[in-house]
Amino acid sequence: MLIRRVLLGGVTVCIVSLIIFAGVEMLPGDACTQFLGEYQADEELLAQCRKDLDLNRPAIDRFAEWTQGAITGDLGLAADGTTKISTIVGDRLKNSLLLAFCAMAVGIPLALLLGVVSGLWRDRLPDIIASTLAIFAMTIPEFVSATLLILVLSVWLGWLPGIVLTSAAAPASEFFPEILLPVIVLSFVMCAHIMRMVRSSVIDVMASDYVQMATLKGVPYWQMVFRHALPNALLPAINVVALTIAWLLGGVVVIEVVFNYPGLGRLMIDSISDRNLPVVQSIALIVASVYVCVNLAADLLTMIANPKLRTMYMRK
């Protein structure tokens, strides 16, 4: 079972990489037309460039070579033919991981706590406050809430720096305290989704027959909550958390642009506008792999945490 899931994940990444490669191949123009810019009309130069960059070989061959490289960690050269992609992307990946990690460290515990509290105190004051905030967080576009926070915390109060000026290659420690504002915005947004999910799951479980039975068996309230209700209520949260993590690692373009944060998302946008297709390919591949890995991890965790699934595979 486990082996099947891992293999399936591998196949998914392969298919995604093929689609990415094919998609880039199908775009009009190539690295050379972009690189040469206004000189691309010159057939000779173009031919020479394509020969230099090895673009004349059949796509299949180049795909094979590219995948081979990708597996060993060598993503090849950027479109300018000199910079190694792994260096550019590596720095950005580190920065994205840093941002994602900080946002998770703040957002996930907070989301679980708020979700449980508002589920237990359903329709009472704590729930009303938390749920209203969550709806705000989900409906206000990220760039609006980001801009508002910059205005308040940075421009008016001057507590935190408003944008990130540290260079992409700097070590993680230099991103503090600039990283704090993007972390606050991100955790605010991710918190809302997870919290709503946890809340409804807690409400369902608290209305279940086994929670009623635990109460009528004489289990004191908090013991009932921690032993009987929460382990079951938090199971469905695992998958939402996984999706959120995957989103944090690959999809926070808007936040990165607003705060000038040198992460993967912004590199992707920049590379697309530069027609730096090898870099675009590489990022797409990384993001796809992250999605597959995180979801795989979530499924595994669910399997371990859910006795029904666990016994299905263990006792067979």
């Binding site: 209305a207 279940s208 027959d209 086994y210 929670v211 009623q212 039975m213 635990a214 109460t215 009528l216 068996k217 004489g218 289990v219 004191p220 309230y221 032993r227 009987h228 382990p231 079951n232 859910n306 006795p307 029904k308 016994t311 006792r315």
Partner: protein
């Protein structure tokens, strides 16, 4: 000196607040007292407030409900004004609950051992070191096999009967003085239910418990209770000893309820109790039951009857309790349709049908490994005549629903043939069947909540078969829909309703109407009355019988309820582990000679009569798959002959024309 009541509920009214701010009562001025050694049965239709009352005895009210007035005392303790910690010590301690549907009442993430240990830790004086021994002791007390191995299991790994026993063991952990049972055997097989009832009887006797037993199953009540209280629309309408209430009920509602139960010793259809109870939100002017009562007169509609205490010890809420005798004259038993003539054509033939759910895995396919388990259903050969009703009975796992699904084309057959009208073989995949064949075979499911699309109106639901098979639209479609609705005794005004606006019985009528809209030759009924109250069940059975008489439809009727099958069927097949044990005309199957399994099943049926005790012949072990060789019933059979039963498939013995028993025991000994 009479004992002082142990559980004492006085003038209790409970209600909820509606959206408009009105208080809607679900219990109205109810009194109930139970002394030690008493066991009281609480009876009523769904929505009568019986579960609410039982939980109120523990000081528990479901979310949204609150006490309007009244008192609840347990051994002198005021359960409504008690400090929370003290209340939690009582709950599951001196006062324990055995819940409805234990499968959902056991916490899924905790092992059986952990859950019972928790009860011991909270409520017993045992030192922590002897919890494990205590758990094993409790599990063996409720006669669970392999108690040591069971402690490590999760609830979902147990069968329904085992889960119910675990729930009982958990309730006994604290050595309670009072036991509340909320429909504890609903959904269990007859043999399992009978065994659990005997266990509860013994427990109550041994420990001198005060017991409150909530059930809609009067057979179960008759077996364990010495007193019975009947509730209707949140009120007590009748109390008395079990014999008084179950044998000569003095309230028209109890009378109707008892008449609506199909019995094994009767051949006619049970008497339907028409109408439905009032909704809690309706204002009731007079007697709540007046609308459905044959004795009702003008007084009954204008003033509400008080609870009269009779000299015989009963209490009755009825103005006309002395006229109950007239009800027996007023109710003429509805005659059953006659059995079909033997020379009728065959509507459907099942020829050596076999079904297997196990798919050979890729590896075993490649290496031709022979590890295929025996088929779930095997050797089913039955010819069903036109206009005949064939009943299929058996416990859960007997393959009865699988056979229906295979006929409907929802589960592919492994081998064998399904032949319609003698000449037309049906493909096992429903997708490959031509529309004309599809029309001829229709199915009605157990639970109309699941089988009716909640977003389709009744008109839309009925339009589907009419459009598909007859291409109707516009006025003809509407006219035909109304005609069909009237056939199932629902009117034109139901067309625009959604399923959620219908009662359980009305929903099932719509499901029946949908099946009849196709004007089929054969209707497959899969436990069609199991989700309904008994009074509604009787009405649905009657409707099916009337429709059959009009249209000459053939039914295959699957149910776990032997009395229901007896009431509606012409011929019955008894199934065990997907094999036929016995088949024959209904009268022959329900009387000796029996197949040992039929005998065990019939013996376990609980009749709503306190004087009838069940005969428990076979244990209630759950078998997950049939044995590889020999007789399917060999492992549980009380009359097993020996190795022949393990190696040879029993031959079919024709006891009488059409009555066949598959058993090695010779005909004279059966």
């Amino acid at each position: 000196m009479p004992q002082s009541p142990f559980i004492d509920i006085k003038n209790l009214s409970v209600g909820y607040t509606s959206r408009s701010g009105k208080t809607i009562p679900v219990l109205r001025d109810v009194n109930l007292s139970i002394t030690r050694g008493d066991s009281i049965g609480l009876v009523g239709e769904s929505g009568s407030g019986k579960s609410t009352l039982a939980l109120a005895a523990m000081g528990y009210f479901k979310r949204g409900l609150h006490v309007i007035s009244g008192q609840v005392q347990f051994d002198g303790i005021d359960m409504l004004n008690i400090e929370r910690n003290a209340l939690q010590r009582l709950r599951g301690g001196r006062l324990a609950l055995i819940p409805q549907n234990s499968g959902q009442s056991l916490t899924p993430n905790l092992r059986i051992g952990q859950q019972i240990t928790e009860a011991l830790r909270l409520h017993s004086d045992l030192p922590a070191t002897s919890f494990d021994a205590g758990v094993i002791d409790l599990l063996s007390q409720v006669r669970l096999p392999d108690p040591v191995g069971l402690t490590d299991r999760y609830p979902h790994e147990l069968s329904g009967g085992q889960q119910q026993r675990v729930a009982i063991a958990m309730a006994l952990a604290s050595n309670p003085e009072a036991l509340l049972l909320d429909e504890p055997t609903t959904g269990l097989d007859v043999t399992t239910q009978a065994h659990i009832m005997e266990l509860l009887r013994d427990l109550a006797k041994d420990r001198n418990l005060a017991m409150l037993y909530v059930s809609h199953d009067l057979g179960a009540i008759a077996r364990v209770c010495n007193k019975v209280m009947v509730m209707y629309a949140g009120e007590t309408v009748l109390t008395g000893s079990a014999k008084q209430v179950l044998l000569s009920p003095r309230h028209p509602y109890a009378h109707g309820l008892l008449a609506s139960i199909p019995r094994l010793n009767e051949t006619s259809l049970p008497q339907a109790l028409d109408g439905r109870p009032p909704m809690p939100s309706e204002t009731i002017m007079g007697c709540a039951f007046a609308d459905r009562c044959k004795l009702a007169d003008r007084t009954c509609y204008s003033s509400s009857p008080p609870l009269n205490h009779l000299e015989t010890g009963e209490a009755v809420r009825c103005f006309h309790h002395d006229q109950i005798g007239q009800l027996n004259q007023k109710t003429e038993k509805s005659a059953r349709s006659n059995p079909v003539a033997a020379d009728k054509d065959t509507a459907l033939s099942l020829a050596n049908l076999a079904v297997s759910y196990s798919r050979p895995r890729l590896l075993s396919k490649l290496f031709a490994l022979q590890d295929t388990p025996p088929s779930t259903v095997d050797r089913i050969t039955i010819d069903i005549k036109k206009g005949e009703t064939l009943g299929l009975v058996g416990e859960s796992g007997s393959g009865k629903s699988t056979i229906l699904k295979t006929i409907a084309g929802m589960v592919p057959a492994q081998s064998g043939n399904i032949i319609l009208n003698q000449t037309e073989p049906l493909d096992t995949m429903v997708e490959k069947r031509p529309a004309a064949y599809l029309r001829q075979v229709q199915i009605i499911f157990q639970n109309p909540d699941d089988s009716l699309n909640p977003r389709h109106t009744v008109a839309q639901i009925l339009a589907q078969p009419l459009r598909l098979y007859y291409g109707l639209s516009g006025t003809p479609l509407r006219d035909r829909s109304i005609a069909i609705l009237e056939q199932v005794r629902l009117g034109e005004h139901y067309l625009e309703r959604l399923p959620s606006q219908l009662s359980g019985g009305e929903k099932q009528r719509v499901a029946i109407a949908r099946a009849f809209a196709a004007d089929p030759e054969i209707i497959l009924c899969d436990e069609v009355t199991s989700a309904l109250d008994v009074s509604v069940q009787a009405a649905v059975l009657d409707l099916l019988d009337v429709l059959k008489r009009q249209d000459g439809t053939t039914y295959i009727f699957v149910s776990h309820d032997l009395a229901v099958v007896k009431a509606i069927s012409d011929r019955v097949a008894v199934l065990y582990q997907g094999r036929i044990c016995e088949i024959g005309p209904v009268a022959a199957v329900y009387s000796a000679p029996f197949h040992p399994y039929t005998d065990a099943l019939l013996g376990a049926v609980l009749e709503p009569d306190p004087d009838v005790a069940p005969r428990l012949k076979a244990d209630d072990a759950v078998e997950l798959s049939p044995p590889n060789l020999g007789c399917p019933f060999q492992r549980r059979c009380p009359r097993k002959l020996g190795s022949i039963c393990e190696t040879n498939i029993p031959t079919a013995q024709e006891i009488a024309p059409g009555h066949i028993i598959h058993c090695h025991i010779s005909q004279v000994d059966l």
